[in-house]
Amino acid sequence: MSLPRLLAGIDDLPMDQRRHTSVHGELPRWRATELLAELERSGLRGRGGGGFPLALKLAAVRRGGSSPVVVVNGTESEPMSTKDRLLMWCAPHLIVDGAVALADAIGAAEVIFCLDELEPRIHESLHREIGERAEGRRLTMGIVATPGGYVTGHESAIVHWHDDGIATPLPNPPRVSERGVRRRPTLVANVETVAHVALIARHGADWFRELGTEADPGTALITLSGAVADPGVYEIAHGEPLASLLRTAGGASEPIRAFLVGGYGGGWVDAGELPKLRLSRAQLRPFGTRLGAGVVVALGQSACPVAEIARAAEWLSAQSAGQCGPCIHGLGSIAAGMASIRDGDDPPTLDRVARWCELVTGRGACAHPDGVAEFISSALRVFAPELIDHAELGRCDACDASPTLTLSGTHAVH
């Protein structure tokens, strides 16, 4: 079986159960230990940005104790990503399948689906589908609406929101796999990850590994945006060359300056590297970036990278949960520094900004500052000429152009 897998049978409307079964087949029931072994063999990693092996997470939750909870994370707080919304809208049954399979595998009696409060349409649709599926099972399934905000999608922020109504990350230790929702061991899995589980449960680990690479098996959803003819969500096999994906998306709409791979927690790569860029975690590492939640943005030559970065840096700084000093001050300094560089207004040196990036890494309760540090450090490397130029001469004509990087939900389901 080849592509598409997750996106098989998808069109503009939600797939109802009948169509879902005709496209994907029935969901077989597995013995818990066997499904866990199969998931481990598949090498499936989380698709929410962390890329953590699912089997390890499952093992940690099982060790955590009794009454575990499954949380399906559909908050999709990465602004330029729309894949999770797409899956939740178009293929809700696939997600419910995966959630149920995971719940059975770890012995959970409760599944919580999380999605952004600004998506009432998806909320209603999911609510309907869950209603149909919940009958006759000893499984409680509910939906929780989460507030906007970049750090809201963090595992512990979801737990915090669910239990106390505050959407900020919690101290770690303890991990949510030990103590999460209502202090019980909690598995938080991204929507796409859960959908992959549903397919592995049908077709097996060997099938899953037929596509992709040895180190990064399977397929992934990429949200492609920026200077391309057909932006949107695409399913690729891991290891696919970015150039090939671009062709599928109708090619670039103008000459490209650089690619942002991995969203705001990822990194920039010069367009010259395009022939060497392959989309998998292992193959992106030498370029100092990662696939993350599958966001790829093509920055055209007509855009001003400095203005884009400065604008993003300011937003990212404001998105801090405001709990940890180094994040608050560090991201603030970085944002102010990038703005000064853009305006040529007593700017800091690039080394100083790089130093700030080092100072915020690993010193917060969540990985938000680390992600921003990577985003900015890679920008310092890739856009050094433009940055130096702006530092001396100030704003350029392209600074006020309409931005390529989106900051918060202008989400249209493709």
Partner: protein, 70 residues
Amino acid sequence: MRIEIDPIACDGHGLCAELLPELIALDEWGYPLIADREVPPELEALARRAASVCPTLALRLAPRHRAGQR
């Protein structure tokens, strides 16, 4: 023994850096930078005092070879 800081509780008071300059420095915003090594035996008593004196109880002492955070 290793020094760990709860980043949410830490308010940058800086008493820890006063007591243990050998292991703790303050960044430009007043927040602690911990040296990535074990507390040597001769500094253990001071480390305990630093944990006790922290106004927000953000500084903790962990036994050696603690598994990585986050």
